[in-house]
Symmetry: C2
DNA sequence: CAACAAATTTTTCGCGCGTAAAATTTAGAG
DNA sequence: CTCTAAATTTTACGCGCGAAAAATTTGTTG
């Protein structure tokens, strides 16, 4: 193998004796050419270092094999983890994933959407900011690109995949009520629909059990949940503002902050004897198992969400099993019992 | 504004009465055309919805305005955070950042490098896997693309930007020795050069203070540091294998795991009375301030690293201030004193 | 060996834009 | 109003490849 760098398909064609259009077919789908030809191409490829020019390919193809992925905040472990899974599955499926993050800001989300659209992707997986999104912009994007929305269910795109808050929240509310004082609900900033749904689900679950809902709203509208949990937590503990010694946080990051607040205030957290309060979260973030104490929470099925989002998207791209209406897939959460509640 | 979608520059040229080459100039640099023309273009742009075709642009430009960013593990908060800053600064500088993650795997790193190279980026910021990298592959990449290496100093590329482990580690070793029992060193899996440098720096610092270094090596070679910290920590505590009640972890994620281990074993962590052990980390990860107890650590200057990496890269791209030899910039760490040590 | 379909090659065109050179217009100074 | 340099337009070409149609070769079947 000379490893000689080849720049164009034309060159490779001359050097290998295979016609350029045939090479073109090969690179679009190796199985589309005769087996013997496939081998000849691959022999040539071992000899020479060549990759089709991405730009030329994408300019001419009617449909690219790019999959756009947009998340609201990539530094959030939930999204980091789910993007990791999506990327891997994209590659395995022969697509080219390209990741954007809105960094929590509307303007950047719009930018990313605009850039993404100009990439003419085969499809897109979008977790919108939610309340912070320009719905019209997301809508226009989804009109132009086959789009599956995940995590944050804004009514856009051909399908939605996410968690069933109305199943998962009651699950943990039931557990907490059964094992101790009914929980109050420590709400995350309402950055997206999940925030509101979780609150509603909490209230419903509490009422169904005959308890009065106790919702604690927090100031702030950004994605620094831990900080909010810590600062608000300290304030609440100092002012004795917690209506219950059991706190259900609307996500794990908030719970991590509250855990830190309790620690700072010398409150022992857990369900054992000598514990002053119980704290539970939601999502089973990658780090929830490493908090002190380890966090009791409800898991979201990351892998299932990633897998399902992509398979629905691929179906839409291929025109298979395309439902008439917007399809919503909700995965159930599972109770993850640890020491914190 | 009609918002009519325009597909080609040709169309826009006809509709606006401005010649296509002039439009082309405008899109490459708005300031390169006469002020009055600039305004005419911008008026037309308000009227019509048009963006130059990315693929056509990049195919023809000698140099793209793409900046490739490759990190070993995007789900690591350190990288998530630094990527966030780099992305933002790229955009502000008029470049187009595109992020890749190796997900901790050599094969994916090579893939990303290959894809990135075929994107013909103006330059790249690469944090290699380190020990897990195919140095030859990274080398070949750096030969083809102006490359600044950060975080993990493999001897490749035109420049390196990172932290000065030989300054930061002694800083915290001194502190720990001054305020209590000299620390043992809980080593991260040697995934990259930082791992070894930190161990060396620790040993040197201890010897300088007249103490015997105590290094604890751990099994494992993956990026799940918290898990390793937890599992190894539990094992060490159970077997009384910790040679000191003060443990310096080679990074915060490991420390977070060890903190969880101590909690599980009922060991109180901190420097106050009644504390059984002290734990310190390195990096000042975004979540280090929310652990229980909050983690004493040495900060890496994320923003400075991001800023410097980019400015060096831009200089190289523009051909300004290009040093003759590979240039290394090391930032100093700062002691971040919290409750854990 | 004839016959036929599949695979391949040949030929030709087009994608949307960058770029260079030559021709023309514009703006500002005198 | 004239002159000159800068800006702009015109013209022409090329980038590397996808795609379609027609011509040719290949492999398989009877």
């Amino acid at each position: 193998m000379s490893g000689k760098k080849i720049k164009t398909m034309e060159e490779l064609s001359q050097l290998s004796g295979i016609s350029r259009p045939t090479l073109s077919k090969y690179f679009q789908d190796p199985k589309s050419v005769r087996e013997s030809t496939k081998e000849r191409v691959e022999t040539a490829l071992e000899e020479y270092d060549y990759r089709p020019n991405i730009f030329a390919v994408n300019q001419n193809r009617k449909l690219t094999r790019t999959i756009g992925i947009l998340v609201p905040y990539l530094a959030d472990p939930f999204f980091a983890e789910i993007v990791r899974m999506i990327e891997r599955q994209c590659i395995d499926a022969g697509y080219w994933p390209i990741v954007f993050s809105a960094h929590g800001e509307k303007e950047m989300e719009n930018n990313a959407l605009s850039t993404l659209e100009s990439l003419r992707p085969a499809g897109a997986l979008v977790a919108p900011l939610g309340r912070g999104s320009d719905i019209d912009v997301v809508q226009r994007f989804a009109d132009a690109v086959p789009t599956v929305v995940f995590d944050s269910n804004v009514p856009v795109g051909q399908a939605f995949v996410g968690s069933d808050n109305f199943q998962s929240i009651p699950l943990i509310v039931d557990y907490l009520c059964r094992t101790g004082e009914p929980p109050c609900f420590f709400e995350m900033p309402p950055v997206n629909p999940n925030a509101n749904k979780r609150r509603e689900a909490y209230c419903l679950a509490m009422e169904r059990l005959g308890h009065d809902p106790m919702v604690i709203q927090v100031a702030g509208s950004d994605w620094g949940f831990e900080r909010i949990g810590l600062e608000e937590g300290v304030r609440l503990i100092d002012s004795r503002g917690l209506p219950s010694n059991t706190v259900l946080c609307s996500n794990d990051r908030l719970a991590i902050g509250l855990l830190a607040a309790a620690y700072e205030k010398g409150l022992r957290v857990g369900h054992g004897p000598g514990c002053a309060m119980r704290i539970a979260g939601h999502d089973d973030h990658p780090w929830a198992q490493f908090t002190c104490p380890p966090l009791t929470t409800v898991s979201q099925d990351y892998k299932a969400i990633a897998r399902r989002s992509l398979s629905v998207l691929f179906d839409i791209i291929k025109g298979e099993n395309v439902p008439d209406e917007r399809e919503e897939t909700l995965f159930e959460g599972k109770l993850v019992l640890r020491a914190s509640a």
